[in-house]
Subunit: 490 residues, 2 copies
């Protein structure tokens, strides 16, 4: 696994201080005068106690209160994995890449689009474990349809823990499910360790504009109480649930994120929390969410500035695509967003591999190609090396006009690290490409997935811990009715 | 046509002043002590007269002389098109998008890879004319194989002039060919106008490391003498003809570009000139040039800083791809480079549409998709609009928590311009996509090309000028033997 990325390139910051303050002021005005709906009695009671004005379900948040609350959110912390070699510094100029999650379909090893199973999910966790630029095995990369909905979170969590020793994410499909995840984390890491070390990340989506619901808030509290970070994620379809304009959309999104970030500190002061969002723009022709549009890139650049203004780490969605297949559209959309997020300075680069069809499917082929793209973006974001500069400039003199460098000592010493060589892109001549079967990227990537999975070794999990996790799941599956209602996280 | 892009986003500048000066010093040392080979007697004589030390074919350029010479290169100028509405400010924060050129194959309307004809070239010029983000019809986008090599430059130039009224490029395949191009420009614009207005762009490739050949230098002089700009383009295959390292490669490339830029001012003081390069990194596994790699992006960011340090406009290669088909690889590679160049602040964004297979073919499908991507990159690079900020934030208050914006007056007024809606990407549901035939991007784009070409109207060209151009071509085709040697520009 690559270490957490430490950025060495300057970020793109399109707003000056006055513009940042203009967004901040607009967001604070929204919080004070329009208010935010918390559809949850416990949250309303919490807010009353914290000194907010509550009218019905609407909470009016004074800017002084918001600022006071968010200031205890840690700007940096270390994510802990069950293999300490995979621990990751997080926040400020550090970034991690995390696979996509939540796909109700996959495009499988035969490029067939179908509902996923627990075995499919295990394969994605195995790939996440093996791919160097993936820093996490996430959680339900795909939704395993072969297990009862009400019990899935247990099997998903176990799969994340078992098939990878990198950090992972925790289901927030209900407060109870979140507690199960955290209980399993306590088994894996120890209750006391959990209390003082971030080991798992939850995601709580808002209902934009300006609504947080009971399920999300309950799950958020479960994470906060155990001192675990949650992504506070307004769910923005720009133009549909926000104004049809870039800067005002950021103002609304920022108000929403602040309201949830502030709430995490009401639940537990000092608990880590991450400024989140899901962000798309909507086609005004069809109503469809779009990916890779210039406004999504601009908004991400702005959101990065806002998160840094508040001193809070932030999350974005990385390799999004709207295509139904892994064609050029998917490539353009994903690469555009990935590049924009590198320049935006995103800390938690979620949905960094596999996402296509607006999140409706995870593509096994795209998963590995995206992961390689992340490794390339990582390399770019590290910036420029100068350690061999004088030596290499001396080589120019050795080689002289009209020469070549292929046999020069500097080349022989440096070629392995000098220029990234993607495994999944074919840059050979058409003659050689044809001789090798004329294979396009989708098929080439699927062959790579097969070879990776064939080489997979399971990272050792302590037998006692494994048994305790299995016992926990068995007990909870006896307790939870198998026919609970669907409570799907997106 | 979109106006010339005026960038509103801050550029990404990975080097501090000291690092810029370190590159500059290394380049100047190369010019002074290693020297540059000019394989051309006239150039050697020119350099002697200009005060350089010349030993054999090697010219040793003193840094004071280089600085003195390049200081007369205009930092900005206006490109003139035969339709004055298509004139373009150029340099500093302005950028133009120019199609790819030089492809010996095309992927045609039936996605068949074959040698192109003059009709194919005309189609690309028609598309360039119609696509709003393309600012130029370039020259030999594809190489027309159905006309004798020695006379092709005449037909190519006429096709550029005839099928589009945007600016264009001029062939530099030999000094004589370049003079023909410039004579035809004199017919189109008038000799006196040409003398004082940039109307055409030539490209002169170097033979890295540190060699300029007679053909290129002769063509360069032809352009310079008529006061027309040339792209001074070292041809860099990083690791093969430069050191295997990012910063030293830029130091060598910078020395090469400076040597040609300086020479343009020896030929004609004050003549416009553009800092160029063709830039790829080479796979050390296969020797193949690669596209979209992180080091290409980093080098472009650095080259942008160097060009601005010298106060000279600069060119890069935009939508490069190495794939044999228009698959996801092509999408990732092109989008990555496009985004990097936007952040690098490139002025002359060449090869911005159609390039695939390392330039071996121009894809009609990719041509229109790239052009739409350029329009999206353009929108992003313009930056953030604030003019409707207060009004739109008021809409947040109108709509309130849990509402939606689709019917709000601000949305109705702004949705058309608020969020870019790509025509060539499908973001519909899979059900709708399947109902419409389940068409992938390549096929969708080809259908779009057909409909564009069906709607093409030829921009009016003055009948007298047209006749004079045709007479010129007829005369020159009588004079030039049809069986001249191939002298291919890349």
């Amino acid at each position: 696994m690559l270490p957490a990325l430490k950025r060495g390139l300057p970020l793109t910051e399109p707003m000056d201080q006055e513009q940042i303050e203009r967004i901040d002021a607009a967001s604070m005005d929204i919080l004070e005068t329009v208010g935010v709906v918390f559809r949850d009695d416990i949250a309303l009671e919490d807010w009353r106690r914290a000194g907010a004005k509550v009218v019905g379900e609407t909470v009016y948040l004074d800017r002084a209160l918001v600022r006071e609350l968010i200031k205890t959110i840690p700007e940096t912390f270390t994510y802990h994995a069950r293999n300490p070699a995979n621990n990751l510094p997080f926040g400020r100029d550090h970034a991690v890449f995390v696979p996509m999650t939540g796909a109700p379909f996959l495009r499988d090893l035969d490029d067939v689009r179908r509902n996923p199973t627990l075995d499919d999910l295990a394969n994605f966790h195995k790939l996440s474990h093996m791919l160097p630029a993936m820093h996490s095995s996430a959680h339900h990369i795909v939704e395993p349809y072969d297990h009862p909905i009400s019990q899935r979170h247990l099997r998903i969590t176990y799969s994340s823990m078992k098939h990878s020793d990198k950090m992972f994410m925790g289901m927030t499909t209900s407060p109870k499910n979140a507690e199960d995840v955290l209980d399993m984390c306590a088994i894996l890491f120890g209750e006391e360790f959990l209390e003082t070390h971030p080991v798992v990340t939850g995601n709580c989506n808002g209902n934009s504009p300006l609504v947080w619901d009971e399920t999300m808030l309950g799950a958020m509290r479960a994470f906060n109480r155990r001192n675990q970070p949650v992504l506070c994620s307004p769910f923005v379809l720009g133009g549909a649930n926000t104004p049809a304009s870039v800067a005002p959309t950021v103002a609304q999104l920022n108000a929403e994120a602040l309201s949830a970030l502030a709430y995490t500190q009401v639940v537990r002061k000092g608990c880590p929390a991450i400024y989140g969002h899901y962000l798309s723009t909507v086609s005004m022709k069809s109503g469809a969410p779009m990916a890779g549009t210039p406004e999504i890139s601009l908004m991400n650049l702005m959101i990065g500035q806002m998160a840094r203004f508040y001193g809070v780490p932030w999350r974005s969605s990385t390799a999004l695509g709207g295509s139904k297949t892994f064609d050029s559209q998917a490539g353009y959309e994903s690469a555009t967003t990935l590049m924009a997020l590198q320049m935006a300075g995103t800390n938690y680069m979620w949905h960094a591999a596999g996402w296509n069809e607006a999140g409706m499917h995870c593509s096994m082929a795209k998963f590995v190609v995206d992961a390689e793209q992340c490794a390339m973006a990582y390399r770019m974001a590290e910036g420029i090396r100068w350690d061999d500069f004088d030596e290499a400039v001396a080589a120019v003199s050795d080689v002289g006009p009209g020469g070549h460098y292929l046999g020069h000592a500097h080349t022989l010493e440096n070629f392995q690290r000098a220029f990234f060589m993607p495994d999944l892109f074919d840059n050979n001549s058409i003659e050689q490409w044809q001789a090798e079967g004329g294979i396009e990227t989708n098929e080439r990537a699927l062959a790579h997935v097969k070879s990776l999975l064939a080489d997979y070794f399971e990272p050792k999990l302590d037998a006692g811990v494994d048994e305790a996790l299995r016992d926990y799941i068995a007990r909870r599956e006896r307790e939870i009715p198998a026919a609970d209602a669907l409570n799907q996280e997106y």
